[in-house]
Symmetry: C2
Subunit: 333 residues, 2 copies
Amino acid sequence: MTRVSIKDIAEKLKVSSATVSLVLNGKDQSSRIGKDMAKKVRETAAEMGYRPNMAARSLRTGKTKTLGLIVADISNPFFAKLARYIENMADANGYQVMFGSSDESTVKFKKLIDLFIEKNVDGMILAPPQNSEEAIMELVNRRVPLVLVDRGIEGLPVSSVQIDNARASFDLTNILLDDGCRRIGFMAYNIDLPNIRKRYEGYAKALEKHGVPVDEDIVYSVDFEGFEDNIEQAVATLMNKDIDSVVFATNRVGVQSLIALQSYDYRKLKYASIDNPDEYLFADIDITCIEQPIKDLGERTLDILLRNIEDPKNKVVEYVLLQTNLTVFLRNK
Amino acid sequence: MTRVSIKDIAEKLKVSSATVSLVLNGKDQSSRIGKDMAKKVRETAAEMGYRPNMAARSLRTGKTKTLGLIVADISNPFFAKLARYIENMADANGYQVMFGSSDESTVKFKKLIDLFIEKNVDGMILAPPQNSEEAIMELVNRRVPLVLVDRGIEGLPVSSVQIDNARASFDLTNILLDDGCRRIGFMAYNIDLPNIRKRYEGYAKALEKHGVPVDEDIVYSVDFEGFEDNIEQAVATLMNKDIDSVVFATNRVGVQSLIALQSYDYRKLKYASIDNPDEYLFADIDITCIEQPIKDLGERTLDILLRNIEDPKNKVVEYVLLQTNLTVFLRNK
DNA sequence: CTGAAAGCGCTTACAG
DNA sequence: CTGAAAGCGCTTACAG
């Protein structure tokens, strides 16, 4: 694993390492390095298979061309897709991505942040768990370029990109109400997460508009730990509550609930969901979905982050609320 | 973003930076640093919020505590789950993971490898696309610790961890044959990938054993680019070929094919698949699946990689073939 | 047009 | 028991 260094090239060509460095960084014009010298340097570097050592460069410049991404769980298809779009755009801009999963734990979240700082990431993209205001403010104070994605935190001076959660959930619930439903269950995950909270508020607001009181008895907030069992429990209870429909607050909640629902007479209910996983295409139900614009989420996030990195004096904080589209999966069997 | 360095701590305590470094690296015992000195150093470091600068440490030690992971596409649930298990085990051993998606392109694959080398990853986990033997051999020659996952390449002196693809596919096809099927379609993705090739061979071998000739007319190998359209085309053609069943070579092939199949009388066919995505739980078909032991895949891979990193003289090459389980999803509607 | 030199923050033999 | 010093590979202001 012995690598060719700038020094090796310099020695071979009997020039200084400064010359080699300047050429290889494309600064040969501005430092008026001779054209033939520049050419010789480039050729020799290619021949010898020179690859810059980022550790050395980072130590000198303070930049790593690496971004840190923390999501709740990279194996959740929503976050996996988001990661993919972020990767694409990062790559197009010369950055690579390190990732970590918080499992909704503040402790793990903080630990990942510390590791990213040690590794000198140029910026971070965070989908924060609950109670992470403090950790985030510490990053703000350290002037670490930072964008929250999927989950903004109100009141924090930090840019965020997310969908209009309240409105999406309001629209979805409205459709069920217009369709005659009055006993609408709400299956959520971690209702104290800011984005899920908004989704609950949208649900409640739609009910209110139709003069239907919110019945907290048919509102479920399920923990991340032991998720599958928790959902099974919640579904079992919910099915005794005389409901006529359900709103799923996320893809994972929806899929897992439908799996559990197969043991019941699930066809008699009507469904709505934030997210539209492929599973719904196959489920033998009519379900109205909000499709999240994941590509836009990723790209807007990276766009803001890269601007903050490239212009550290830029103090603009942006709160982006992306609008969403309704899609409907019809029972086709 | 001004950070506390070892020097800052040293100056504050009026000791040398060597002392601070030794204490913070837990070498105070072996260098017989005074107990009270060590304690004071640790306290001050904590107070001042010291975080080591990995760029400096890496430059000095050559280690980054970072691993590189290249998959075909991180948004594919199989790879997303694999990434998650790798992340967990890496984290438990003090490593972080950078990832990249090759999109089955040799060019992108090589580019990602080069970037990982520039960033001095301590080792790489690769699911290589076609025609990447050369790139991999270059890594071997550079003595970069390396394990292939999901896809071993025969004849290369590189450790690999994968399922027993031929056997899994053989078993699966056998079940259809025993069930009376004789016109069994095979839907694959990139049949020249080593793992997919093995799956094809298992399919062919099972047919042969039952005296059924392989009909290449009902064997489909679909390109990664334009995947969804390709599948739709392939399904359209396949449905004119008088088949009685299909084997799906991967989760993505299966899900996408079933989506396309909804426009046809898909219920008359019998199904088998490598992988068991949740979508199958909802599809209105009987399907026999091979469940890949993704957790074992990830953990065995990392286990071998970490051993290679920690003991660079270890020249043992391991080819791991994990055995798989059959699971059956029954039509329950 | 090009070179000599400093310094980024760390670790580690070596000296005492 | 602790300090002074070298050096990892790079970039960049400065000198000529």
